[in-house]
């Protein structure tokens, strides 16, 4: 009798903990059936060199301005043991039927060599989306000519740092109207020279690529847009005079809500940096703001970054992915001049420790009005599986549901086959590629095909998608802050480029409205102009035109 009661109780517990939303979230990988035949190749499969462990990025953009998202993939250089791999970067044009067409060569977007990250923005204010790619080697600026092709403007623009770039992000940091650029650089690395040539290091008792420890950090770079198609590097003048770190993910966000974009950089193995923007002068306040280290005072191995108002208090919080055997870190913005490491309290610490985190973003996966969280995972070392520990090289990605109470729940195991895939993932981005009102996920994988995870969840809420338009030079309103109000409160977004890890999200800002059928929208443009749009009907993609002060359905 006692045993029987215990049995019933345990069944009840199990049933009682099955989250309702987990039954409705469903992601399916549709990359192959959508015409995406790209296969990443990053050196050899054994990964003796650190350069071979990272070159997989992916992003959503709309380069041909047809209202349907396109895809861009970065790539490494193939060694003979990666079969059928693609050579160079790839660009796929999205079609209305959900199929993607490879337009890499037609658009002249193929970049050879080791390409890492990306940032998409209309840097020259001519109304179309340009493309900046970071590389191990000279970074490249591909200007969109407006006829479906790109042209290399690296040299003429004054960009093209030869350093090993990882993260990149455009924003109008000096508020002069045009878009400036920050590039996070990694390490001095010579494939055939010291300190790592022909060497193996060990980690957890097995062979591992050496680095970054032991390598010189390369300085991050800030470029000011001169408004004539050229940039000037002003890192030191703008205040970036401190020690160089191993820069990875980067994003601009106005964390102190003073109207100008501040900068957050995840640094590998070093304290992260948070540069407060004071009228164009950047001061690293990461230590003061408690976002340099974990809450218990340790530097972590920062990889990807995300910013979002997960607790809906009107302030942007920060999230950083880190190395395995450590936790990913959620810093809640207290609004009192410092952040708090709430990773544990938010239920994000323990679940992330077995994984090595890279691309990441906040997004409202179930349209309930709370921003959920995605993390792309994958180890660095193929031999980690021989270390006798419960650590895999190919790892599943993580999807966390935001309960609205400050806590997240890992729903990866109950979110469809797309979340059960195990790959060596790096860059990750979200976007509504099929324009059906929910957000899909793009994941770049090392030495493998990418995943396009279509959101086939049972629809349980309404939504809004907002695209900003302005007459030049910042034609997409990069840096604008959008607040959406419903009976359930306020949601906040910011238009950002770059972010995550070697990735860029859909520039359209997407809001889950739960059961609300309309919402009030407040846009604060980068120049401080505020525009209100009351009672905007749910379930449409809108364009908000600044000068016309109009909101229209796409």
């Amino acid at each position: 009798m006692i045993r029987s009661t215990a049995y019933i109780f345990s069944v009840f517990c199990v049933l009682g903990t099955v989250p309702i939303y987990a039954q409705t979230i469903h992601f399916v990988d549709v990359a192959a059936r959508s015409g995406i035949d790209f296969i990443n190749a990053s050196g050899s499969s054994e990964k003796q060199y650190i350069i071979e462990t990272q070159s997989a990025g992916a992003g959503f953009l709309d380069y041909n301005d047809d209202g349907i998202l396109d895809l861009f993939f970065t790539n490494g250089v193939a060694a003979s043991d990666i079969p059928n791999s693609t050579s160079g970067t790839a660009l796929y044009s999205g079609q209305a039927d959900g199929i993607f067409k490879n337009t890499t060569d037609a658009s002249r977007a193929r970049l050879s060599g080791w390409t890492m990250g990306m940032a998409f923005a209309d840097y020259d204010g001519d109304g179309d989306t340009d493309l900046y790619a970071t590389r191990w080697g000279t970074d490249v600026l591909l200007a969109n000519t407006g006829d479906g092709t790109f042209t290399d403007r690296t040299q003429i623009s004054g960009l093209g740092s030869p350093a090993w770039g990882i993260g990149a992000s455009f924003a109008d940091f000096d508020l002069d109207g045009d878009l400036d650029l920050y590039v996070a650089n990694y390490i001095e690395f010579d494939l055939g020279g010291p300190p790592f040539f022909d060497r193996w290091c060990t980690h957890n008792g097995v062979r591992a690529a050496c680095g970054p420890v032991g390598a010189e950090a390369q300085r991050d770079l800030l470029y000011r847009n001169e408004g004539d198609g050229t940039f000037v590097e002003i890192s030191e003048r703008a205040g970036l005079r401190g020690r160089s770190y191993y820069g990875m993910g980067v994003l601009w966000t106005d964390f102190d809500d003073d109207g100008d974009p501040d900068l957050y950089v995840a640094n590998d193995g070093h304290p992260n940096s948070l540069f407060r923007n004071d009228e164009g002068h950047l001061t690293d306040v990461a230590l003061v703001q408690s976002v340099a280290y974990s809450g218990d005072g340790r530097p972590q191995a920062g990889m990807g970054v995300a910013a979002g108002d997960y607790d809906r208090d009107g302030r942007f919080d920060l999230f950083v992915t880190n190395f395995s055997q450590d936790h990913n870190t959620l810093y809640r913005n207290s609004g009192q001049g410092y952040f708090l490491d709430v990773s544990g309290r938010a239920n994000l610490a323990g679940s992330s420790r077995p994984h090595m985190g890279w691309g990441t973003f906040f997004f409202d996966v179930d349209l309930d009005g709370n921003e959920d969280l995605f993390v792309a995972n994958g180890h660095l070392m193929p031999e980690i599986e021989q270390a006798g520990i419960a650590m895999q090289y190919r790892q599943p990605n993580l999807l966390y549901h935001n309960g609205g109470d400050g806590r997240f729940v890992d729903i990866s195991q109950n979110a469809g086959p797309g979340l059960l895939i195990t790959e060596v993932s790096r860059g990750a981005a979200y976007g509504d590629y099929d324009n059906d009102g929910d957000l899909d996920i793009l994941v770049a994988n090392l030495d493998a095909a990418p995943n396009l995870l279509r959101n086939d969840s049972q629809r349980s809420g309404n939504w809004l998608s907002l695209q900003l338009r302005a007459s030049g030079p910042n034609t997409a309103g990069i840096g604008a802050r959008i607040a959406v109000y419903t009976d359930q409160g306020m949601q906040l977004r910011e238009v950002r480029t770059g972010t995550s890890f070697q990735a860029q999200n859909d520039l359209r800002q997407h809001f889950g409205l739960a059961q609300a059928t309309q919402a009030d929208v407040l846009v604060r443009w980068p120049d401080g102009t505020e525009q209100r749009y009351p009672a905007v009907a749910a379930n449409h993609i809108y364009t908000i035109a600044k000068e016309q002060k109009k909101i229209t359905v796409e």
């Binding site: 408690s290 218990d296 009192q336 544990g344 270390a387 006798g388």
Partner: protein, 458 residues
Amino acid sequence: MKYSLLPLFALWIGCSEQQPVPQPTPSQPMADLSQPDPTPSATSPEALFNQGRSLQARADFSGAEGRYRQAIASAPDNAQYPYYLGTVLHATSRYGEARAAFEKSIQLKNDYAAPRIALGKLLYDVDGNADKARLLLEEALSLAPHATEAQYTLGIIQLREGLSEEAVNLFSQLVKSDSSNAQARTQLGLAYLQQNDLVRAQEELQRAASTAPYYSPAYHGLGQTFIRQGKVDVGQRLLQRAQQLEEEATQLTPHQNALRQNPNQPPAHYNLASMYARFGRLREAAQHFSQAITLDSTYALAYQGLGNLYQRLGSTPESRATSAGRARALYQRALQLNPQLAETHNNLGLLLHSTGDVATAVEHYEKAAELEPQAGFYQANLSRGHFELKQYDSARQAAERAIQADPSLNGAHETLGDIYAAQGDWTNALSAWENIGSQNTTEALDQKIAQARSHLSQ
């Protein structure tokens, strides 16, 4: 003309080249001076186990593993042996084998806390499994409620998982039983900080920093606490201190690891002591210089290092004189053992110079310069000595050699100007002084330049 005494060049400490630490080969474990090398001929499992412990303490993990395995073969039911085998395997990153060894130990003795703690730590640190680790550590604490390692590790896990109240309880118990446990006290402070109990956080973190003044996490937490209290300036200074300590710790770590692996090698102690001295941690530096001398009473560099420390000590004229006397004796001992130590000659010269024995100081500067002719600062000190003895030609030649070796030696330029001035050559004096550049000027130098210009304008 009254000459101000120039600050003499740099007591040259802590910048010596690092000394190579002889590495043991796997087949020849490093000799332990205090104990005979254990041999496998001792066959009792207990003797083998004790040998294993001894080897493990000296970081000879391979040797220790062999002894533990032999002990297990002789006494397969003893739970202690696989536990210690597991610790060695963990230390050498053989995690799968370590896990199996800990599990075997638990299987042999179900109420044994130690392998549970070790397995819990392994699962948390290596597998990243917080839930299983927590369970094992809680079980261990139910078996051994005062197991400090279990309390600490569980406290860390609870803190990182956001369970700050549980963490406070665990760390409070730890500091109650050992008030000098700065790590636990720091974590207690951080747990209070997580609860936004800033008064308690400040109290605990200040006590931690005072117990362990070089432990950066305490300063880091304290800085955050002050900032949250609105005391931003104090907080920022503490955060900077934390960062500085972290940088120092990064540089110290390889030397600490080398010493752990070679505890009986004098160069390992010397290298670590030199790093401590560089960071102003004189007590630790003295301890390791002394230990190097204890291990090898003919190790001249260690006498020199200890001499350098004594030369920096003393807060009153009397105590400074006492320390200087000790430093002098140590330098002399070092030179007795190795007369070729240029740095020791230079530093002894500086010491004698400061006590007014300039003639003997010059002899030592000359010897230092002879041993290392390219070291400009030895020549500069020699120049100053000759100058004070009014041996102007020798002084000028030494100053010129110093400048040739290192044109940035401002003291050498100043001495050269002083030599010319003493001989009434104001044009060359002014030229030498002006070579120093305005960014490095001093009030005394400005006065000299003004005096020279005044002479030249008459």
